[in-house]
Symmetry: C2
Subunit: 606 residues, 2 copies
């Protein structure tokens, strides 16, 4: 989407204010979210970008009659100032100066603050209402979004087809998944659960779509009933031929506008309905309550079983990672030859590097899409955690610098996400020291054994202590959940400083990605995906201990490893990992690349 | 306190039921707590023990007309069955089958469940009320405790004198502490804070008492006002001569029964008063609300500044630990000679060992009391985490077994808490392996460096990973806060698997006590106290990193260390620690003990 020019921003803001005045509103909240609260939204839902020019993946704006503000988090500090016209919007920190605080300070008593109840979760709405009331004002739900009335060239809503995700990848039939969840509903005394997260519905129905970039999501709503049937509110023209057979009798496809009446019917019968206040739109809660339903607030019941991959999904993940690792290995062999040779005369650009990596991935028939926009950061750009290279302003790979490359792909049998940091030419001693500390953290996590019940928050420190020893740290989480041909970021488990109460369970896939960033100089991150498995060591009580199996298979740059800083155990881990990488790929490589891989994975131990 | 015989229990239970019937109550809750929610209570407050015979440090009973139950946690599983007459009381697990669940299932509709609002915090009361209402019944506050009406030989209330805690140990005058806290009250718009925790009041006023065993606490209440004055509700006969001068003009001593009217006066003026719902009795909340006050629920404002010891308190802690470590070292030298020599003919008993250790501590003028009842566990008794040796049933120190000794003392300049595990004769290879894994965890924690903002929950795993590797773990926290000539267990910081959001801050003292317990065989624990200090290494942003300074100074049994399992860094830590122990004590020991210490602290490294 093209960025809005400043004069456009001014005109749009003025038009929105006029529209709000016409409706008797004193302000309006514009979140980045769509109705499904996902990380990616369809172009037709990019209302925040249309209004403000800001295209980050999280944020919001609040527009009042006299003033307006845009809110973005630390990842977007620079980008938001580049993209947003400061004459129109004050720029605020999303976390430290959140919209609620700004609303409380600026809204003014007696005001009416509008919000679109489809675009805010119930929890967010409660916070907004509190802020409005603290200002002596009122929070008012709008019937239709005022921006949609003004957005003349609004892209059409997504129309991508929705197709079956076959059992050979899904591993468990939708009917069986629904029966499992239905049991849980019955135990809670609920007759239905309202599902609004696209990845939950995709997982539960074993379907995939293409409504948003980078993630094969269908956008729809569903009501799962305690008898294991499901009402699926989805545009019928999106359904591919044969999908009805795949779905079977238990799934009733209904037009999207039938959702409201279906909720009304539940309400009229006074039924108890499970809805997730963290993720479901406030609109669903309001409609159910108005109709007389008892809303049971609780987690989306798909989240945990979706996170626990079954054995078919795990085998798929292994195959996808082998394929993905081969493409990355070919790329690394190419890069190792190309980047230093061109460094002086015609240095390789970040964009070309990312495109070349994509081309290696596209050599496989199985490739469907990237799983996120590649982060290709040379030198100082590597220190910008959320960097995105653009043709005009990109950096180039120069001797003595580092190159950080974070990328992933969507395959029908699995989603990948991998970061490698490469030395172009000769790295400095400091770079080697920092890289090795990050590697020690990565290995500590990869090799840990832990009892059932352990959370990612408990393990996070293992990835940091070697950096802390030297007064260093990194300002992001250590690991996020990853879907199975679904979102590259999924919960509820997480490896992070932030307390998280979800234990790591067998089948969960998480990233292991400690890093180190020296602002203005270089960035380091080493990321593999790992699956939680039962360890071969039993706990004393006879139950299996858990461990991680590393899924990602690509060399870690030995030019950046300082062997003297590794313990014998750490060296053994690295050598064993590299032996796995070598065995996985050597037969599939041409002679040059095979020789390169042999060198790149040479053992450091005796 | 003598244990109640079964027939006594039956008679007391019947008398209580009659008393409840007389008052129109269908049940009554008997917590182990007194009005101050501390770990130790005065004999006059041991209502739970009087009624049920159970003397554990946590628990409760609920008495209904037809049935009654005692609740105790996992530490007391055996003890509670020993002490409680099963014909009178069902025994329930305090955490897994808490009183609330039992009340909900057993109380019966329309019932009236009595509780003493002085003995339950506001939060506990909310939970009790919810349970009673879920049963269709009502929770009713009693005016006076029905047990007190029946308890004929009830010990008198504590009368121990309250004396000044001089500035040379406290480090900061009460007036200055009160001024700091008063600022916080003003910021919150509160005119006063009701203080009910004895250690908070002792810290704030720089006074110490003797109302309960093992902790020099005065039992009293206080109202700290936003002008930094304080109303102290305390029996005037307890105040030692000169205390009024120490307290100064800002502290007004008032009779205990003036607390109610003082709360009423705040209410009459419609004032906002800060009270801690986790620790303050429900009585205080009810009285304030009835009088018209606005209750601001929030943490006791003394907790955090009390936890952050000042430099005088830290110097005191160092001196106390040196003194305490000398006593322990003398004991260990004695034990190493005595225990094996007597093992075959007249083995040393757990009680004699604990008494001998106490005698070594009493050689110092500074000794005031133990800081808790010594845990002296030989062989399998060492695996009982909360073991208490009794003359008649005690174990003895035998060759080839381990001896776990957890003890501490109160000195005017500091509180100590230390655990050593000793091999009597030759330990098995398994014992050495397990001990060394525990030691590796202890060292990892002792040597860690971490950024400001880090919590104990984040660090906990460092103490466990080496056990986890072998499928082992321990089922208790890794570290608790420790007071300064105050409670041996204090919050709010903690090192534990359980999420805790209080960052570790300079001056905080915590224990470092990983362990391993093999049921029926032996127990291992290695405990030192550590203080949070600024590390000599700076963080990249120029702020100090934090680290731990180990305070405890006593040898760790090298007979239990398997040197091949230690990394060079771990060996260096152990040798450096032992060098500190040797330097601290060698000049103060007689020739035999000095020679023993030399051997006991010999370096393992090259």
């Amino acid at each position: 989407m093209p960025e809005a020019s400043s004069s456009e921003t001014g005109a749009r803001l003025a038009a929105l204010r006029a529209e709000l005045a016409r409706r008797g509103l004193d302000g309006f909240v514009v979140p980045r979210a769509d109705e499904h609260q996902g990380e990616y939204v369809a172009p037709a839902s990019e209302r925040l970008a249309w209004l403000t020019g800001f295209t980050g993946s999280a944020g919001a704006a609040v527009v009042l009659a006299e003033r307006a503000a845009v809110f973005a988090d630390g990842r977007y500090t620079l980008q938001v100032r580049d993209q947003v016209d400061a004459a129109c919007f004050a720029v605020q920190h999303l976390v430290e100066e959140p919209p609620e605080t700004w609303i409380e300070a600026n809204l003014g008593a007696e005001g009416k603050l509008g919000y679109d109840p489809w675009l805010h979760s119930e929890r967010q709405t409660v916070r907004l209402r509190k802020a409005a009331e603290a200002a002596g004002a009122e929070l008012v739900a709008v019937e239709d979004n005022p921006i949609d009335a003004l957005w003349s060239e609004r892209p059409p809503p997504p129309s991508a087809p929705i197709a079956a995700h076959p059992l050979e990848y899904a591993g468990r039939a939708s009917a069986d998944k629904r029966a499992d969840l239905a049991k849980g509903l019955t135990e809670k005394g609920a007759v239905a659960a309202a599902l609004t997260l696209p990845d939950s519905i995709a997982w539960l129905l074993n379907v995939r779509g293409g409504a948003v970039p980078r993630t094969p999501l269908p956008l729809s709503f569903a009501l799962l009933r305690a008898d294991a049937t499901l009402d699926w509110f989805v545009a019928p023209e999106k359904l591919t031929p044969g999908l009805a057979v795949h779905l079977g009798n238990g799934v009733i496809a209904r037009a999207p506008d039938e959702l409201g009446p279906a909720l009304d019917a539940l309400g009229a019968a006074g039924e108890r309905v499970l809805v997730d206040p963290e993720t479901a739109p406030a609109w669903v809660f309001a409609r159910l309550r108005a109709a007389g339903a008892e809303v049971l607030e609780g987690s989306d019941p798909c989240r945990l079983p979706k996170a626990r991959k079954n054995t078919v999904e795990l085998d798929g993940a292994r195959a996808a990672h082998k394929r993905d690792g081969l493409a990355l290995t070919r790329f690394l062999a190419w890069l190792d030859r190309e980047a230093p040779a061109r460094a002086r005369s015609d240095p390789l650009g970040e964009v070309e590097a990312a495109e070349r990596l994509r081309a290696f991935r596209e050599q496989s028939d199985w490739f469907r899409d990237l799983s996120f926009d590649t982060i290709s950061g040379a030198g100082a750009n590597g220190a910008i955690v959320h960097y995105r290279a653009r043709e005009a302003s990109q950096g180039h790979l120069k001797l003595g610098e580092l190159f950080l490359l974070d990328s992933g792909a969507q395959y029908p049998d699995g989603t990948t996400d991998v970061t490698r940091t490469l030395a172009i030419g000769e790295p400095s001693a400091e770079m080697r020291d920092r890289f090795t500390r990050v590697l020690k953290g990565h290995i500590a996590l990869a090799a840990v054994r832990f009892p059932r019940g352990t959370t990612g928050s408990q393990l996070d420190v293992l990835a940091r202590v070697h950096l802390w020893r030297a007064g260093l740290d990194y300002d992001h989480g250590t690991g996020h959940g990853v879907g199975s041909y679904l979102s590259v970021h999924e919960g509820p488990q997480r490896i992070s400083k932030v307390p998280n109460r979800t234990p790591l369970e067998p089948g969960m896939i998480v990233s292991n990605e400690p890093g180190y960033y020296k602002a203005g100089a270089y960035g380091i991150r080493i990321e593999n995906l790992v699956a939680v498995i039962e360890s071969e060591v039993e706990a004393e009580d006879g139950r299996a201990m858990l461990a991680f199996e590393t899924l990602t298979l690509a060399p870690i740059d030995l030019n950046l490893v300082e062997p003297g800083l590794l313990s014998p155990e750490e060296t053994a881990w690295l050598d064993a990992y590299h032996a796995r990488v070598r065995d996985a790929h050597k037969g599939a490589l041409d002679e040059d690349a095979a020789q390169w891989l042999e060198r790149a994975t040479r053992p450091l131990g005796g």
